[in-house]
């Protein structure tokens, strides 16, 4: 499944998607950034509710396929601009984390 396909699921939308064709393998959920860097694997979807600028660096360095913001949280425009420039996909789900993860279950 690609990030673009994920962005088309019900309740999900792309906030910035510079690399839509990126393949997704697995899911990691977490809000503690160092914990995410220690545990997430490359190409994971990273589900979080953190929206500060540092999520862009974490996603880029940990090489996740995209950030999926749950609960409909929205980052500032500057975060989206940085993500766009650094090739980091950011998607948003209107649903809570558990429902978001369950929605992904059949695809990853």
């Amino acid at each position: 499944m690609t990030v673009q396909t994920l962005a088309g699921l019900e309740g999900v939308r792309a906030l910035t998607c510079p690399e839509p064709e990126r393949e997704i393998r697995g899911v990691y959920i977490g809000d503690l950034l160092s914990w995410v860097m220690g545990r997430a694997e490359a190409d994971n979807v990273w589900i979080t509710i953190m929206t500060n600028i540092n999520i862009v660096a974490v996603a880029s360095l940990a090489d996740t396929s995209c950030i999926l913001l749950a609960e409909g949280v929205t980052p500032e425009q500057s975060v989206l601009d940085t993500a766009e420039a650094k090739g980091v996909n950011i998607l948003q789900s209107a649903k809570p984390i558990y429902e978001t993860a369950m929605q992904l279950r059949e695809f990853v």
Partner: protein
């Protein structure tokens, strides 16, 4: 052995939002050199955690990256307060980060353990009141 490729980056201690810029630069360099993605990931994360530590605790410092034929070395030097008890600092979950840092999702006490986890060798030299130098090596 041939001379290593050497890169030096200042780490700005005042700017938490730009933390990670040196790591992102290094990631680009390693990509251009054609290193495998998992190695790049390990080097990038270890260096980013080090950068974050320098910003949180030491008011910045300097990061040096040396790329040899068979390994990558990352040397992080700061003139911060030093680490009083290195063994304690290496424990997962131990943190002295302030609340404002924790609210950003850092300060979980995972920085140094992650640096060790993702590298093949890590050495910490630290003197209280003088500073800290961390040397990490990732084998290729």
């Amino acid at each position: 052995m041939s001379e290593p490729l050497k890169f030096t980056y200042p780490v700005d201690g005042d700017n938490f939002t730009s933390a990670g810029q040196a790591s992102v630069q290094v990631k680009k360099v390693l990509r251009r050199l054609g290193l495998d993605p998992e190695t790049i990931r390990r080097v990038s994360i270890a260096m980013y955690e080090g950068e974050i530590n320098m910003v949180i605790h030491a008011g910045g410092g300097e990061a040096e990256v040396l790329i040899y034929e068979d390994n990558v070395q990352i040397i992080l030097r700061d003139k911060g307060p030093g680490i009083a008890d290195i063994e304690q600092a290496m424990q997962e979950g131990f943190s002295t980060a302030p609340d404002n840092i924790r609210s950003l999702g850092f300060g979980a006490g995972m920085g140094l353990p992650n640096m060790k986890r993702y590298t093949d060798d890590m050495r910490i030299e630290s003197e209280v009141g003088v500073g800290t130098t961390i040397t990490m090596r990732v084998d290729l």
